[in-house]
Structures are given as structure tokens and as C-alpha cells.
């Protein structure tokens, strides 16, 4: 089985939400480590419901828009737990920037340095986003029992970003010395 349904089960284990919310959550607090498209989420929700791992929540309030909220079942929780125990697959390495850098000598002057410079800028922006997410989590989810785990993931993001920024500084210096 793909890991998509487990990502969904995981989010639903935190709190009931709709397919739309799931997408939202992934693209906000988890964007740097996971993502899903709607084309994956809705069919997966169907299958999960058919397998009794999640259940649709009856909408009481009329305030909500036309939307279907799901909650995880006991069975779903159990299934999620066994999946959590399996050693995670390493993600297949496909870093286009590094590929381009590897063949960088062939590129026109300045091209490769441009890529690296853009990376550094991205990472700067990204570092700010991470800080903002952390602040928000610490305020809005102050007492949430999952919070320590979320902060761990976040700190991995921070570590990676800082590493990339350090590296791009060095790389730019090297590239500078190389060309002229």
C-alpha cells in the first residue's frame, strides 16, 4: 500500500477533518516534508472509508459549507500504529539542483551560481516561515500532547535550512573563484 492513506490516517488521528483540510494541513505545517494532491486524497478517503478505517462525521451545525468531515476509527488507529512501527523507506534521491551543479562546468558562466543564489534566497524565506510556524504552534497548540513531536519535525527543517544556507555561502565562494 502507498503511504498516502497513512498520511491521511495520521492527520485524522490528530483531529477530524475534511479532505480539503487535509490538503491544507499538509501544505502548511508539513509542506517541507510531505505533500499530497487532491487527486490522491479524495479517492484515498473513499477507500479508507470502505475499509472502515475512517468514518464520515454527521454534520450537526448548518454553519459549515458543503463539506464532509471524517474521523479515524479504532481500527484505523490500530492500522496506523502498526504502520508507524515499520522502518521508514528512504525517499528516492532526486535533487535537480545537485544534478545541474554536478555538470556545472558545461553551463554558461554565472548560470550555476545563479541557481545556488536562488536556493539561498529560498532558504532564507523558508527559515522565516519555519519560525512563524513554530511561534504559532507554541501559542495555539500550547498544551497539545503531540506538540513535542511536531517541534522535533520542525527542528529537522530548521537544521536542514541552516545547513543549506551555510553550504550555499561556501559554494558561491568556490564558484566565484572558479570562473574568472
Amino acid at each position: 500500500m502507498s503511504t498516502t492513506p497513512y498520511a491521511i490516517l495520521g492527520l485524522l488521528s490528530i483531529e477530524p477533518m475534511s479532505g480539503y483540510d487535509i490538503r491544507q494541513n499538509l501544505n502548511e505545517s508539513l509542506s517541507y516534508f510531505w505533500s499530497e494532491s487532491f487527486g490522491q486524497i479524495y479517492p484515498a478517503l473513499r477507500r479508507l472509508e470502505a475499509a472502515r478505517l475512517i468514518a464520515p462525521v454527521k454534520q450537526a451545525t448548518r454553519t459549515a459549507r458543503r463539506r464532509q468531515t471524517y474521523s479515524i476509527t479504532a481500527l484505523g488507529r490500530a492500522r496506523l500504529r502498526t504502520w508507524l512501527a515499520e522502518p521508514p523507506m528512504p525517499q528516492p534521491p532526486r535533487n535537480e539542483l545537485m544534478l545541474k551543479l554536478f555538470f556545472g562546468r558545461l553551463a554558461a558562466p554565472g548560470v550555476t551560481a545563479g541557481h545556488v543564489r536562488r536556493l539561498r534566497i529560498q532558504q532564507e524565506r523558508f527559515a522565516a516561515t519555519l519560525k512563524e510556524i513554530e511561534r504559532q504552534l507554541r501559542v495555539e497548540r500550547r498544551e497539545h500532547p503531540d506538540l513535542p513531536y511536531w517541534l522535533l519535525v520542525l527542528s529537522a527543517g530548521v537544521e536542514r535550512t541552516e545547513g543549506l544556507m551555510r553550504w550555499s555561502e561556501d559554494a558561491l565562494a568556490v564558484l566565484q573563484r572558479l570562473k574568472p
Copy 2:
């Protein structure tokens, strides 16, 4: 167009080689940033040849096994160069370890810490591999004009590995304090 053919063009821009060699190279010196399967490589070689971006090399020596070496054409080199200039696509984020850590509270005690511990061990081994690759490159390709670029890619690998090792130390400490 997919990036697979460009990865192939890139390797052939360094020196002529066969499909088998291409796979070998990717799984050795580039394994941490790129990979391809045979099921991708051979069809891609066909298409590249049809497009006159690469050309089969006539085997002079009879010593070689049944194998087809290819070399990049001038057209291929030009195509590669324009691709190098395009800003690289960021790889879609799909880090299963982080996903499992994010939902880590639900896991049985020790499970998540186990994942992190395994990561640390992997990274230790990996750091050694990187050192070995660097040593080898500095000796065997001492004068190669591409060497500085390869070392840059390598140093990104080192940076990442060290970051992950630092992070796993911290994460393990946090997880320790969390459970009991």
C-alpha cells in the same frame, strides 16, 4: 521532457559510456542525489539516439563484452547546456521518517526513537562513504576540470549528513525525556 535524459546527457558529457556504466555511476558517486533504474535508462538511450543527441560508439577492441558505448553529440551538448540554464525544480517533499515522527505520539514506546537511531547509524556509515568517494576523486581525477563541481556536490552531501547526525542526537535526547 523528463529529467532522466538530461542526467544521461550529463554523464555522457563527462565521458562516453554504456547504459550499464550510467547506472553504475549514478549508484556510486551520485547515489545521494540522483538515481535511475535500467527500465528508464535503456529506453531513454534509444530516444536520445533517435534525436541525434547521442551516438553509439563503434567498438574497436574485441576485448569488451557485448556492450554499447554511447558518446554525446554536439547537438546533445547544446541541449544539455540550455537545460542547465533552466532553474531546477525543487524535489517533491516525501520524507517518510518525518511523517512517522510527526505522528510519533501514537506509536508504541521506543518505536520512534528506534527510527531515529537507525537514521543516525545510516548517516554515520554514509559519512564514511562520502569521505571515501572524496579521497578517490582527489586521487583518480586529480586534474579533471569537472572536479571542483563534483566536490561541491559532495560537500552538500557532507553538510546534509552532518546536519542529520546533529539533529538525531538532539531528537533522541528529546524523545528520551518524553517517554518515561
